[in-house]
Amino acid sequence: MTKKKHDMAFVLPAMVVVAIMTQVPFILTIIYSTLRWNLARPDLPIRFIGFDNYLYFLRVPRFPEIPEFYAIVWQTIFITGATLLLCVITGFMVSILLDNPVPGVNIARTLMLGPFFVMSTASGVIWKATIFNTTFGWYGVLVKSLGLTPIDLLSYRPLFVIILLFWWQWMPFFVLVILAGLQGIPVDLSDAMRIDGTNWLQSTFLVKLPLITNHMRVAVMLGLVFVVKEFGLILVTTAGGPGTRSYTLPYAVYMQVFNASNVGRAGALATFTVILTLLAVNLLYRSLRRRRAAEA
């Protein structure tokens, strides 16, 4: 047995397990997306219908009326994009602060990481019950104390609420990655900056920021995968509402299966989600590779 085959023999069991665990459900989803399969209609036989489930969402029957699928795709892109942008900007600022050698900074770092370890449904319930409640929530009390009438943010500004909660939950992850990048900056570089007389703005934005751009890109790439598939938080806060104003693709998949009982259309939506995510991750990965090649 050659060395390569010998090495492969060790890796093969893990590869088989990973392939079965990840690829089989995905391939099954693609197969389901080509079927007419409605759980609420057992009288209709399950049969192959090609790309009809995809066309059902993509087709624009009467032009000025755009189907709600496009609105859901836009909402998914908007929520994910806004969350990632907020997370990168604030994550960088917070990381710069937490990189200072103040006494007990590790306690502050641990506190900041707290929301990341809370289950998304639990954090949704906490925010809905203790903060956004217009009668006894912090928001309601604060607005009333200013002499104003609090509006129900969950109903009137659902996207704002969801982006805020995603940001609150995922910003610590960005802090974790960016802080690791900041701590990897060599000490002699910091000393050189001090000797050269750089001020805070110069050292932060002209020296540190370019050095941790790759860390930021990795954080955005991973964050994209995590945020785009978030579902529980939407379910417990706005439940996709009002109407479909705060639907995202994963939530629409859930509603297609558990509300409309339509496995075929849910499969098509799930495949759309995967394609969109893969496209975005691929773009980010390419930019990361281009930058690494330029640096080399």
């Binding site: 200072n100 007990g104 954090s123 906490i126 203790t130 609150w168």
Partner: protein
Amino acid sequence: MSRTHTRPGWGRSARFRKTVRIAALSILIYAMAIIYVSPILYMFISRGQI
């Protein structure tokens, strides 16, 4: 050599400025961390009865 480097009181002034800077940063960092995590702290304080 400039004589200003040996002027008495400058070292103490720099130390004082550094102490003030670290104290201000500490207050800022801890305030930010506590505010950020306050929904979770509130949940613990209210013993989950939300």
